[in-house]
Structure formats: C-alpha cells, structure tokens
Symmetry: C2
Subunit: 356 residues, 2 copies
C-alpha cells in the first residue's frame, strides 16, 4: 500500500533525495567510497558543502553580508547558543507555544526576557500581532511556524532591534525577506534534510556583537569563520540537504514551492471547512501552510479514534495531532506530493459518508 507521509518531523523529503542518498552510500560520486566514509576535508565533500551554501543563498536570496553555516546539535542547541552570544541585558520573545517556551527558558539562563506578546490565552491558536517592540532590547526572538499548533507568521516583521527567527519548520517553503532578519536558524529535519544538522544564517554585524566569552563551539564566530568545518560536520545530512536544495531549484525555486504549498494547504483547509465532521483549530489568518491541525467537529468527538484508524488503514502516516492540541495534524512540507493531500481529503470524505 502506498504510504502518505504527513509526519511533523523528521519528515518527507523529495524522492530524488532518497534515490541519490542510497546511491551515494554505496558509491559516492564514482569514488568507490561511501558518502558515510569519506573525510570531510576531501574536495568531493567540500564541493557538496559549497553547493548547499550557494543554493541556499540563491534560493532565499540571502544578501552577501550574511554567513551561512551548518552544525549539529539541533535547534535545541541554538535555543541556548543564541542568548549566550547575544543576550547582554534584555531580549524580547514572542511566545507562540512549546518551541518559544523552550527558547525562553534557555534565554533566562543568560539574562532578562521580556515576553512581548503571547497567544497562550487560547492554547496558541493564533499569532499575536501589533505588539510594541522596545528599542532597548538586545534582540527580538520569534518562531515563524509552530509545528505543534499549526500557526505561521505570514509577514516578515519590521523590527527596530535585531530580529532572530527559528524557521525550523517553514524555511524554504515561502519567500522571505532575509534582510529583515539578523539571524535565521533551524533544525533541518523538516523541509531540508534528515535529523542531525541545523542551518544558521547570520548577518555579519552580529558576528561582532557577541556579548560574552564562550566555549569555542558555542560562539557563532567559530562556525562562521571556519565555514562549518571547525569540527567534523554532519556529512551525510548535509549531502541530503544539498540534494533537497537542488530539487527545490529544479521545480522553480521558493516562489514555485510556495505556490504549490498554498495550493496543497487550500485543498485541505477547504475540506476541513466543508466537511461536517471536522473543524480547524487555528484562526484563519494564522493557519500554517506546513502543519495543518484539525479536530472532530462539536458533537463528533467520539469519532476521533475511528478516523485515525480509518485513515491509517488507507496509508496515511503521522496524522495524529500533538497531545497539546489533540485531533489531527497533517504536515504538508515541501516534499509532500499533492496526491497525498488529495488522498487524505478522499479519506475524510469517505469517512463523512460512513457517518452521515
């Protein structure tokens, strides 16, 4: 049975990335060696790294005055590296749920945190807007897409202080204006690569603004100066990332990707609105294109387990909602084909017929 992979992360990658990864494990670039067993100092790997950086720069239109680097440790590592590097006195955080809460917890270890806005009052089902940004903050921190609640910023914020964004789950899914950000980072295991590598895009002036002495691996300058090669980088995840970036370019870049993502999300949100058995959990304006959350309609709650079973039997994978929201979550990352969304919609319609 054909599987439709709606996992929130690690998540679906383009088929060509799987094919090329499997090939490179058996023989990388015709070297007679496995991509798993080559030195990161070889020309072959340096080419992969350079290609990944250059494609990321091209696809996101990253200005010349930004460094791009790749490191291990996950976004959870960046949660504390960011305040360690940049929080001297006070930073502003917008709380949109679990991922920003974790970041806030780590920031408090290094300085004062001002919560500029929060959507906690309604279980994070919207993105707070119109909040003041004090000019004396060291930086403003946001998470542009929350995988758990299915919310997403639709605009790049204008900030009078350096804007730092966790884009783990929507990087390269939509055009952004990188020049509005001081630093963008994320775990790559959603739209880019398998688990094990994070990307950091940092404006050069930030590299001179590190506020304290730090262990070598924690300092942003270490990775920027050494071009991701201070220590052995996660070679294979970077290889797969490069394959994914090539694929995004091949389908027309981020603008084209965005159009496809809008179309996929529209199909699913439309069905959620139409179908009498389901309802969306997020305010319309803030619904994520990546993580589409829905629950059973009022009075139909007892059908939830049945629908999960019904959909699972039809090849849907990873659609159980996070326990903090309940219901269902269909993650529709870049590599998820439109057919998968259509298969899920067909499931929902079939299930509705059974429960008329």
């Amino acid at each position: 049975m054909k599987k439709h992979n709606f996992s929130a992360g690690p998540s679906i990658l383009p088929e060509i990335a799987y094919q090329n990864a499997a090939k490179a494990i058996l023989d990388f670039n015709g070297t007679g060696l496995s991509i798993l067993s080559i030195s990161h100092r070889t020309k072959d790997f340096e080419d992969v790294l350079a290609s990944a950086q250059s494609l990321m720069r091209e696809l996101l239109n990253i200005p010349e005055n930004y460094h791009i680097y790749f490191v291990g440790g996950g976004a959870s590592t960046q949660f504390f590296h960011i305040p360690a590097n940049f929080l001297a006195t006070k930073a502003g955080y917008v709380n949109t749920g679990v991922w920003t809460k974790k970041a806030i917890k780590e920031a408090k270890y290094y300085g004062q945190v001002e919560i500029l806005a929060t959507s906690e009052d309604r279980n994070f089902c919207y993105i707070p807007k119109g909040f003041e940004i004090p000019a004396d903050l060291d930086y403003l921190y946001i998470c542009t897409n929350n995988t758990i609640y299915g919310t997403q910023y639709k605009e790049d914020i204008d900030s009078p202080v350096p804007l730092i964004a966790d884009m783990s789950s929507d990087i390269l899914s939509r055009p952004i204006d990188v020049s509005k950000y001081a630093l963008i980072y994320g775990g790559a295991q959603k739209n880019l690569a398998p688990a094990g590598v994070s990307f950091v895009i940092v404006r050069d002036d930030m590299l001179t603004k590190v506020v304290r002495e730090l262990p070598t691996m924690m300092n942003v300058n270490t990775h920027a100066e050494n071009n991701s090669m201070f220590n052995t980088p996660p070679v294979f995840p970077i290889f797969v990332m490069n394959e994914t970036l090539k694929w995004i370019k091949s389908i027309g870049g981020v603008e084209a990707m965005y159009k496809i993502n809008v179309e996929k999300a529209q199909i699913l949100y439309d069905e959620i609105e139409r179908n009498t058995l389901f309802r969306a959990t997020v305010d319309k304006a803030d619904r994520s294109l990546m993580n589409i959350c829905f629950v059973m309609a009022e009075g139909k709650e007892d059908l939830a387990a049945d629908f999960l079973k019904f959909a699972t039997e039809r090849g849907m994978v990873g659609i159980k909602g996070h326990r903090l929201v309940g219901g269902f979550r269909a993650s529709c990352y870049n590599a998820l084909p439109k057919e998968s969304v259509e298969a899920l919609v067909a499931c929902m319609q079939e299930f509705e017929q059974l429960h008329k």
Copy 2:
C-alpha cells in the same frame, strides 16, 4: 579499481552497514517509509535506539549502573560539556596532543586545569606513564587513542578520582574495563557510525555531581533522563551505528575484533620495521592499533611524494599523514579488511623494489 579506505575519519564502516543503510533509505523495515523521514517517536525507531544501547552495553560489558546516550554536536561539544558539568575547582588532564589540547582549552573556561603529564617534548610520539594523580582533582581526563600521532593507551588507568576518557577513535576496537571509568564518550565517526552522533557512557553517581546550573542541552542529566530523546536525535547515524554494532557482535564481539585488529596492525608495523624505506614515528609500546603512522626512513625523505602517488594509483585512500606529523597514516579501524592492509604492504614492498 578496488579502493582501500584508510581514512582517519569519517572512516570505513562494515559493508553490511552500507547495504542496510541504503535499503532503509528506500524502505525502512517494510514500512514503505524512508529511515530519513520517520518520526523519532515511532516504535520502529525506538527499537533501533534500544538495540544500539543494549548492544553497546553487551559488547563493552557496561555495568548496570551506567547510562548510555547518543547526542549530536560531536566530541568538540563534549570538550566543554564535560568541564561545564564536572569541573568545580580543578581537573587533571594528560596532554597527548591536539585532541587533549582542545579539551584543555575548553576546560580552562570553567576552572583550573592541571596538566599531570604531557608528551609534547617529542611531538606526542608516546603516552606519558607513571604520573601522580592528586586525590583532590574533580576528575582525570585522557584521550585513549590519538588519531593524529598514532598513540594509544594499552591499559585502563587506575585513578583515585573519576576517570573521564575520550574514546572517539578506539571504542569497541579492544576490550576495556568500563568500571574503571566515570565517563567515556566519543564522536562515533570512526568505528561506529557516519559523522553526526556522539556516544556518552556515564556512571550514575556522576549524574548527581553536576557542579553548576546549566542550559538544558548541556546537562548530562537531560540526555540520561530522556534516553537520548530530549530533542530529535540524529536518527540515521544511530541507525547505522546499530548496524555496525550488530556486525561486531556477528564476528564474535570485541575480543574477536581486538584479535583481528592486533593481527592487521602487526602486519603493517612489521612491514614498516622491515622495509628499508620507511620508519614508524611512535614508541613501540604506545603504537596505536587504529592509526598507524610512518614516515620515510632517514635519507629517503624525498621519496614521500612519489610513494603517496604510487599508493594512491593502487587504490590506497586517505594515507597522507596529518601535517603535524607528516609522512603517512594508515587508519585501520574495525571495518578495514585485512586485505586492505595486505594491499598497502604489497605497495610498500613494490615501491621498495623500485628504489633499491
């Protein structure tokens, strides 16, 4: 042409690990999903993680009062995590070259470092022995095998203070008495897995001895308590590690592995001794079974570039020595077949004939 992969790291892994990794990328466990695209919270991956931990425990005979966990970030991250967790006042370090120097640098950020012994006087070509270990140290830190200089501890030190060892490059290559160590860790990209995951084996009493408040990801307890799942672990490197561990078990475990490693190293060191063109760089007693360093014999130095070309043309990969030692380095990790060592020896003999 058949390649012989002597790379110092990332390095050769067993053929069966490549085969199973390539298969799992296309279809993991018959799930219809890629190992690169499954949630780390799935039963299928939890089984892989549990298997890797249990095999490591079995193969190294790790007592019950030790936790085993896997994290990203590389050994370079552990260089500062260890003193951050355990260095309150003063720690002792034995300096055997680059890797301990880096660890010492990070430790100084957190407290006082006493260099108990160093082999710097002869470019780290031996392992210092017979040094005093003051009883008031927070811990004693060593690196059991130095990839760059080709030195290796042959015995587990008896230490009156907690013994912490970086075993990045010789873990599972020889039997060790884990009970003599408070903490053993390493990057896995030599004998275990592709780059992107580190292992930590920590005695439970150490978990109660963390000396300062730390960001969540830095605290050993975070990873021990959450069984490597506080954040998304490096799923694919852990999968490959499990395949490697299964392979070690299949060939008879660490004792069997050690015998093969001794045999391979003996063949190569014997040839280095016999061959009039080459000489070993390390004192006999301290020669590594993993990284075998040699240079041209006195008066033959100008043949070095020729030999590198000669050997490369015959399929030898990664035998150029590190710039700090020069000459050649043949890394003979667990997965390197005896035939590769024999092929290198044949090269050396053929080259000797040409330069009689």
